[in-house]
Amino acid sequence: MSDTFTLAEATLKAIQDRRSIREYSPEPVSDEDLDLILEAARQAPSGENAQPWRFIVVKDEATRKKLGDISGGGSGRRFTAEFMTKKMQQRFATLEDEAKKKAAYEKLTSGAVSMFAATAPVNIIVIGRKDVWDLPFDTSAAIENILLMVTALGLGACWVIAPCIDVRDEIRLRKLLNIPDEYKAVSLISIGHPTRPHRPRPRLALKDIVFDESFGNPYYKE
């Protein structure tokens, strides 16, 4: 027997069930599911209703491999810099298992952590027109809608900034996908069928992040 949810309960469940999924089965994402995902994206709010977002759907294997290379290159460089300057070691200071620590360092500095675009059945590259006021905020709203619809459909996705955050990687991505200069490449969303369930990541308590009337006065008391 299926559970019955009110709209609020179903919405919160999608929000709470969302995970960043980086491992996918070979099963493709159906056109029907992709249509719903893109419909969710286009219903996002935007400043002045500018709707600056555009979406590039990539399924081609060779292009996915190049997306993975660009992403892995960017991540590998950044995390290697973190390792070389000891910042990564500070981040993992409380991890006592040396084998796990070593594996984490390797996964991050090699860029492997971000190369899964190559194996995702579909990637959506989110770009946005630059001639608007609220480009990063508008496109982020569309991206979150994508992630929630993916979750509601029983699929898995990961929001990947790796191929876009460094301007040099964004240039590579633009060249690969013919993105005109009037558009900024914002993010890549990898989507597929998850291979396994994932545990939730820790979250800060509401009492620590919400303030009453001005900064510093807790809204939620102990």
Binding site: K66, D69, I70, G73, G76, R77, R78, T80, A81, M84, T85, I165, D166, V167, R168, I171, R172, K175, L176
Partner: protein
């Protein structure tokens, strides 16, 4: 338009305010958007002067160009495997970094570093990361890491 020479203080003051605005907007992420700063200098003044795909040649040309333009006092470097440690003395833009540091913000962009990186990416087709910028006592110490990945992926 006036022929009056513009002071370094005026220009560096503007550069500081622009960098600070960018930091306020993007925080630690802003450094990743600065890697093309200096592209015009590289394309117009450095690229064709670099004789071959060797790091020493790239550094020497960048040093020569920056000295000719009065941007730096000296540039030296040491290479160990895939890391390059570069020292830049007397950089014209050091006051910008000193003002950033006074605000508690680590320097996040460096034109000499960018020019050397552009040279390595262009002539050796290798990806490079600017891992660290430290400015102390009038000297900027830069840590670059060179990767086996090709710069030209597409």
């Amino acid at each position: 338009m006036s022929d009056k020479a513009i002071s370094h203080d005026y220009l560096n003051g503007l550069v500081f305010e622009l960098e600070k605005a960018f930091w306020d907007e993007r925080g630690r992420g802003c450094r990743f958007r600065m890697m093309e700063v200096g592209r015009g200098i590289y394309e117009n003044d450095c690229k064709d002067r670099i004789p071959g795909p060797e790091i020493p040649a790239i550094v020497q040309v960048v040093k020569a160009v920056l000295l000719e333009k009065g941007i730096v006092g000296d540039v030296s470097y040491a290479q160990e495997d895939l890391t390059l440690r570069i020292s830049v003395q007397g950089c014209l833009h050091l006051p910008v970094e000193e003002r950033m540091l006074a605000k508690g913000i680590e320097p996040f962009t460096c034109v000499p570093a960018n020019l050397i990186i552009m040279g390595i990416e262009d002539k050796l087709n290798r990806q490079v990361e600017l891992a660290e910028i430290k400015c102390e006592n009038g000297v900027c110490q830069l840590l670059l890491v060179v990767f086996d990945r090709p710069a030209s992926v597409v």
